[in-house]
Every structure is written in C-alpha cells, then in structure tokens.
C-alpha cells in the first residue's frame, strides 16, 4: 500500500470519528473541540489532493478564527443538554431526510468519474503546480466580477448583522478612547497664579530651645 493511501485512511478515520463525537459529546465545549479536530483532518485530506491553499485557508479561517469565536460563546453559555435533546424523535425524520440528501449528493460528486463528469482535476499535476496561483488566476481573471460581487454581499451581510444586533443603551457610560487620547492638559487642569510665598509672622524661637 502506498504511503499516501495510509495517510488518507488515517485522516478520514479520525475525521469520521471526530464528526461522530461532535454530535454525541455531552459537553458542548468538547463537541466544539472535536469539530476543530475534524477540520484539521479534513485539511490533511485536502493537502493529499494537492489543494494546499484550501487546506491552509480552512485551518486559518475555520480553526483559527471561526471556531475560536464559537468556543468563546459556547464556553460562556450554560447549556442544558437534556433540554436540547428533547425534540429528538420529533425532528428525526426531517433530519434524516436532509442527511440522506447530502449523502446522495456527496456520493454523486465523489463518483463523478462513473457518471462521466468532464471537469475532474487531472490526476498527475506537474511538480511546479501551485494551487494558490491557479486559484488566484481563476478568481481574478475568469471569475473577477462574480468574486467581487460575492465579497460585497458578504460585507453588506457583516455590516447588516452588526447593525441589527447593536443596541446602545441610553445610559451607556463606556469610555471613548479617541476622546481620551485627544485630551490636552489644559482641559483637565487649571493653572492658578499665586504668590510663591505668603509672609506669616511666626514668633521667633528662643536660643535655648533649638535642636
């Protein structure tokens, strides 16, 4: 067996196990961390397919940013796992339908050679093939406008999400760092001119009492 095949089986076995634990783990934090493990192994699988840009972007975006924020939220919530599981049997048929649909779609993509799809990647890529360059060339030449429009839609979605959830309280006492930095000393402090010394008549001590 080739070394790549062994690696493939290791990565896919860990992916499947981790994905199973995501939905069976009782603790939501454990589940999120298993999802991270699954992402890592999927990145390994993509690396085997010579898609190094996608693999590293998956780790950078999903593991490095999305899941960190996800954990951030999950760790602060007090999730009652029993209540989450309540409607399990009621929702099972719909879930099974969606899951089954996804499984059928995936099997159709994966067995594309059998169904005679033409756009499959070539099996033996040249040594100087760069997945990053190839992706960039496609995105910024052939698909420049769809790509730019997609990014603008994402930007709008981000701003809309922030605007919809942002609630500023009227009695907000938050500090404004820019105002604080812009402060000059004369805004905060008043210099008062006064005589350096005020003469006070003190009775002089007698010679014998000194020291």
């Amino acid at each position: 067996m080739e070394f790549k095949t062994i690696l493939f089986y290791i990565f896919s076995a860990v992916t499947v196990l981790a994905a199973l634990r995501v939905i069976t783990a009782r603790n939501p934090v454990h589940a999120a961390l298993f999802l991270v493990l699954a992402f890592f192994n999927v990145a390994g699988l993509w690396m085997l397919l010579q898609a190094e840009f996608l693999a590293l972007a998956l780790i950078m975006v999903y593991v490095g940013a999305v899941m960190v924020l996800f954990l951030f939220v999950v760790m602060m919530l007090d999730i009652n796992i029993e209540r989450v599981r309540q409607g399990f049997w009621k929702n099972l048929p719909l879930g099974a339908l969606v899951g089954g649909l996804m499984a059928v779609e995936m099997s159709m993509v994966l067995s594309g050679r059998y169904f005679g799809l033409a756009n499959l990647p070539p099996q033996n890529l040249p040594a100087n093939y760069s997945n990053t360059k190839e992706l960039a060339r496609l995105l910024y030449t052939d698909y420049a406008y769809p790509f730019e429009i997609a990014s603008v839609i994402l930007l709008v979605a981000i701003i809309a999400a922030v605007m919809l959830t942002l609630r500023t309280r009227k009695d907000n006492k938050a500090m404004h760092a820019s105002d604080q930095i812009a402060v000059k000393s004369k805004d905060r402090m008043r210099l008062v001119k006064m005589a350096p010394e005020v003469e006070v008549s003190v009775p002089t001590a007698k010679e014998g009492e000194q020291a």
């Binding site: 590293l56 940013a65 960190v68 760790m75 820019s178």
Partner: protein, 361 residues
C-alpha cells in the same frame, strides 16, 4: 548538505558503511528529516532557556539591578536550575478541572510554537520544508496557538483563568488580522509565498546593486507595515505592554493560575518559542533574513541570528519600558488603527507597483 553528511559518514565508517547503507537506505528520508528536526529543536529550546536568562539580566540592568548571578559563573546556570526545579515539581490537578482538557491545554500551546519552525529558512537551503505555501502555513499554524490558552482557561474551571482565556481569544484574533494584512504587502512585492524566495527577492534593487543592501530590504519601502507587524507580533505573543492575558496585577496569571510544574513550564516555553518565532518571521519578511547589510561582507546564518537577537532585545526593552495597555485601548489599536492603516497601505503599494515609479520588477 545531505550529500556532505553521507560522504562524511562513509569516510568515518570505512568498510562498514556499505552494508549499513543497504540497511538504512529505505528509511533514510525519515531519518534525515528527523535529524533536521532535532537540529532545529535543540538549539531552539536552548535559546528559549537562555532567552529567559537574558531577559532577567537585561531588565535587571535597565532597572539598575544586577539580575541573576548566583547559580554558576555569572549566573549562567540559572535557566538550567529553573528548568530542573520545574521538572521536579508535582503537576497539580484542581478537583473541579476537566482533566483531559487540562492536560491538552499546555500541549496545544507548545505544539504550534514548535511546528511553525518547519518552514523558516535560516540560510540558503537551511530549511526543513521549502514549501511554496510557506507564508500560508505560518499564518495557519500561528492562528492555532490561541487554543492552548482557551482550552487551559476553560478546563481550569476557575475565574481568573477564564478571564485570561476570554481576553486571549479576543486579543489574538484581532492582532492576527492586522498581522495578516501587513503580510499581504510583503507578498505583493515579492510575488511569492515561499519564505526563501521572499528573502532572495530583497537582495534585488538599486541599493543592493550599490552594495548597501540593507536599504533594499522590505522594511524601508514598507515601513508602516514593518511597525504594524512588529507591534502586532508583541501583542500576538501576549508580551508586555500587551500582556493583559496574564495581567498579574489584575487576574494573577490568567490561564496559567492553576498550572504547576512542567505543565506551567510548557506555557512558558511556548511563550518564549513564539517570541523567537516572531523575531525570525520579522527578519525573514522585513529585514532580509540571512542577507548581509553591506556588499563586502558575506551572507549567512550569522546575519539571521544577529537580526533575531536585535528584535528579541526590542521585545525585552519595551517590556522594561512601557506600562501595560488598558484592555479597550488594545482593541482600539488593533481594529481602529492597525487594520485601516494596513488596508490603506495595501492600496498604496498596489498603486505604486503599477505606476512607472515601481521599484519591484
């Protein structure tokens, strides 16, 4: 280098070599890679140990103290003694901690700090994996480093570690954005993701031809990005003045409160290994890596080491000089100052590269 080592081994072992080689040959790539990993890891861990010593000495001198001078000549055995002490201490588990994740925390902290070294080139050809997506790999691996802190903070099941974890996840993600955007300008001017090529691209240009190569390194044309990258690097490693994650005067030691012995030492090792990594990355991206600053001196690893030492000194210097940032100001600096600045500079560099005044061809 591989051929030299093989020849050397053959000449030492003489007639024994031929049968031995027949035995070793199938696993030779594995052995060679392991040897290279050891060659990177052993000096790295030694530098981590002596970086802690140097830090205490430098800060001592800056504060008109002497610093450690009791163990060994000039105190040189101090890091060994510290390491031994930590090694012999018991690792305590809090009763309410999540045991498995409590162990996983320090491992997740140190693993990325060491794994990132795989793509760092130290001199021409001195690199473990000369991959084309080296910069992406570095970004991906360094973004994983935050998990050690988050997992440790949550698994400790205690207040201060959790505060530390919350602060860490917010801070490290914010400064990763600024760091990544700063790197984009470097990628634009060197049009490569390979770290060795990024270094050799800095050897070209008018000033390099005149023999004053240090003026054609990336730091000068990309000066704002150099500053952003360096400061974000300090924030990314949670070092002073951005060390609110530990914040010993506010939250005791953040995610490390409940750790003792070697588990604590792992966090310590990770922090210093990350510092050395940031200094190596800065010297590769902005200071010309192994390139000599002037034409009449030879290039080589010693320049890389000197540049890394200078940046590490900068790290220690600002720790001794600046007070800790307030948390909201850290966030403001990351999102409202650095991110817009990098975005504008990407535009400026893009226009510059397309204009007739371009210095990158």
């Amino acid at each position: 280098m591989e051929a030299t080592v093989l020849n050397l081994l053959a000449s030492i072992l003489g007639s024994l070599w031929a049968p031995l080689w027949a035995l070793v040959k199938p696993v030779w790539p594995l052995l060679w890679t392991l040897a290279k990993i050891v060659l990177i890891m052993a000096p790295l861990l030694l530098s981590v140990a002596y970086l802690t010593f140097w830090e205490r000495k430098v800060i001592g001198w800056m504060q008109v103290r002497i610093g450690p001078n009791r163990v060994g000549p000039w105190g040189l055995l101090q890091p060994i003694a510290d390491g031994l002490k930590l090694f012999l201490k018991e690792v305590l588990f809090p009763a309410a901690a999540d045991k498995k994740l409590f162990v996983l925390g320090p491992i997740m902290a140190i693993a990325p700090a060491l794994a990132a070294w795989a793509v760092i080139p130290f001199a021409p050809g001195w690199v473990l994996a000369n991959v084309d997506a080296g910069v992406l790999y570095l970004l991906a691996i360094s973004s994983v480093g935050v998990y050690g802190i988050i997992i440790a903070g949550w698994a400790s099941n205690s207040k201060y570690p959790f505060f530390g974890a919350m602060r860490a996840s917010a801070q490290m993600i914010s400064y990763e954005v600024a760091m990544g955007l700063g790197l984009i300008t470097v990628l634009m001017v060197s049009s490569s993701l390979n770290l060795s090529e990024i270094v050799s691209m800095q050897d070209k240009g008018r000033f390099a031809g005149m023999g004053i190569g240090f003026l054609s390194w990336n730091w000068l044309p990309l000066l704002p990005m150099f500053a952003v990258y360096l400061i974000s690097g300090v924030a990314e490693t949670n070092r002073a003045p951005f060390d609110v994650v530990e914040g010993e005067s506010e939250i005791v030691a953040g995610h490390m409160v409940e750790y003792s012995g070697m588990a604590f030492a792992m966090f310590f090792l990770a922090e210093y290994a990350n510092m050395i990594l940031i200094s190596a990355m800065t010297s590769v991206f902005f200071l010309g890596g192994w390139l000599s600053p002037v034409g009449f001196l030879p290039d080589g690893f010693h320049w890389m080491a000197a540049k890394m030492a200078a940046i590490l000194f900068f790290f220690l210097w600002i720790r001794a000089t600046f007070p800790r940032y307030r948390y909201d100001q850290i966030m403001r600096l990351g999102w409202k100052v650095f991110v817009p600045l990098t975005l504008v500079w990407i535009l400026v560099v893009g226009v510059w590269m397309m204009s007739p005044l371009t210095i990158w061809k």
